[in-house]
Symmetry: C2
Subunit: 302 residues, 2 copies
């Protein structure tokens, strides 16, 4: 009776006939010939072991048994259609989920625009963005908790693949400050100013202080912060001046902040990282590429 397994096509035929009242209509609907549907149904009837339809004035009325099964059958067909649709979206890099860990600065600053533009084009895609300290970001990559990380001061790790970028840095100062008459700002120019800078144990700080030492300029440390964005905020307030990545500086130009290139050229080393063991999804790869591109205009030319 029922040795044959249920086949999807049979269920499709069943529902088409249920919904359109006749085998002929169902065949038209499915875009196949009438005998094809006829046979699908007779096969299904054989394997189910009960009659599928009762005839009533030329209408095919689903039997009680079929009506009992219909909700589940509809659900299966609907789900198959959905899987198919979502696959299409995925193929077009428009569906999936991306988990990003980034420096707190990026979570509020550059990243949101990129993310917004990316998601707008891809209705099925969702994201998790987790801002945290570089150490944690590294841990997350190693533990494969996140697909993509944006960090700095990355020293390399066997489980993490990284792309290292050198962002231009600039000296930022309040809009009315005399520095706005200069084209380039050097340590010597800054010798009389109060300086807001990153932590003393950061790589960027040691580069900066070395530049001052080389030129024998005084370094008036006023304030130690962790993030460039915080420095910019303080510079806006007139608290002091700072050397920060141009990426951060540009966001504050309409908030009473001005900036000029800093000489010598000091790179702000950013790292785009991902777990090496895990093959990234194609949406992730696309996002990583888009993000790297978005930084292109801020890179130090080599």
């Amino acid at each position: 009776m029922d040795r044959g397994k249920l086949r999807l096509r049979q269920l499709e035929a069943l529902m088409a006939v249920s919904d359109h009242g006749s085998i002929t209509n169902a065949a038209t609907e499915l875009g196949i010939s009438q005998p094809a549907v006829s046979r699908l149904l007779s096969d299904l009837g054989d394997s189910l072991g009960f009659s599928l339809f009762d005839r009533k004035k030329g209408q095919m009325i689903p039997s009680q048994e079929v009506r009992f099964l219909q909700p589940d059958i509809r659900r299966v067909l609907e789900l198959m259609r959905q899987i198919s649709d979502v696959s299409q979206e995925i193929t077009k890099r428009r569906a999936g989920h991306i988990r990003i860990a980034c420096l707190p600065g990026f979570a509020t600053n550059h990243l949101p625009e990129i993310v917004a533009a990316f998601l707008k084009e891809r209705p099925g895609v969702s994201m998790t963005i987790e801002p945290d300290r570089p150490e944690r970001i590294l841990e997350w990559m190693i533990g494969e908790q996140y697909d993509f990380g944006i960090t700095d001061g990355f020293a390399g790790h066997p489980a993490v693949e990284s792309t290292n970028l050198e962002i231009r840095t600039v000296c930022v100062f309040p809009a009315g400050h005399p520095f706005n008459s200069l084209d380039v700002i050097t340590p010597a120019d800054m010798a009389t100013e109060n300086i807001i800078h990153t932590r003393r144990d950061s790589e960027f700080f040691s580069q900066l202080s070395k530049a001052f030492q080389t030129e024998n300029a005084t370094f008036n440390s006023l304030l130690e912060i962790r993030q460039f964005t915080a420095a910019c905020e303080l510079v806006c307030q007139g608290t002091g001046i700072a050397v920060v990545s141009e990426l951060d500086a540009v966001k504050y130009t309409n908030q009473g902040l001005d900036f000029r290139p800093f000489a010598p050229t000091l790179p702000h080393r950013l790292s785009l990282v991902r777990p090496i063991t895990q093959q990234p999804s194609m949406v992730t790869l696309e996002f990583m590429e888009l993000f790297a591109d978005s930084l292109q205009s801020f890179l130090i030319e080599t």
Copy 2:
């Protein structure tokens, strides 16, 4: 890229490999050869347009994209299994839903035992039992609201198919009553008793009163009720005596009620009805048969 439709077998293979870590294991699990699985996957990969697995030390790790689809895929496979299982139950007449409309007496009296036994054997079957007056039961049959009806005084209707049964009737009296010395009770015997009977406009009442008239016996009407069970209750209380269907009488023998055959033989005409337009499901047919059988020993032999 993706002209081919998704096939169920491909999804099965995908999940088997996901769950068992290798194509070889998946093949064993599915009970087919390794190359078969290999090709199902490669076909699926072609039609989906993204890679399905990453290799990691001989383990096949589902890609991000696949992991994204897995919940839906599992749901589809689970549903297919379920549909298949339920079909089996239906084939074995063990699943479905039966809607029964019956006289109120049956809802509490004979029907529950039958229903209980029937459902016990068929875990997937559910029922709706709606007790109501004969007029409503008829309406429900015509409107195809119910699959099966138990009624009386049914005069026939073009939209309703019926099986008519004649149930034996007996005279019921309180256990200690002098009637218990008699083998058969006649109208003459009852002439001095107060009688509880059905409505004057019922077919059964007219039969009963005609029997009294034929024998020139006095008919002392005490109380008019609708249901035989109500009459039995009152007889137990010593309110009077009655002629009721044996079916009802037997239920009260352990509640202080006794009964003897009534002569002449008066049939209680029951009708088992169903909508003629609607092909009954096979569980329904089976139940109808079982129910008819359960009445067999109460029928007037012909």
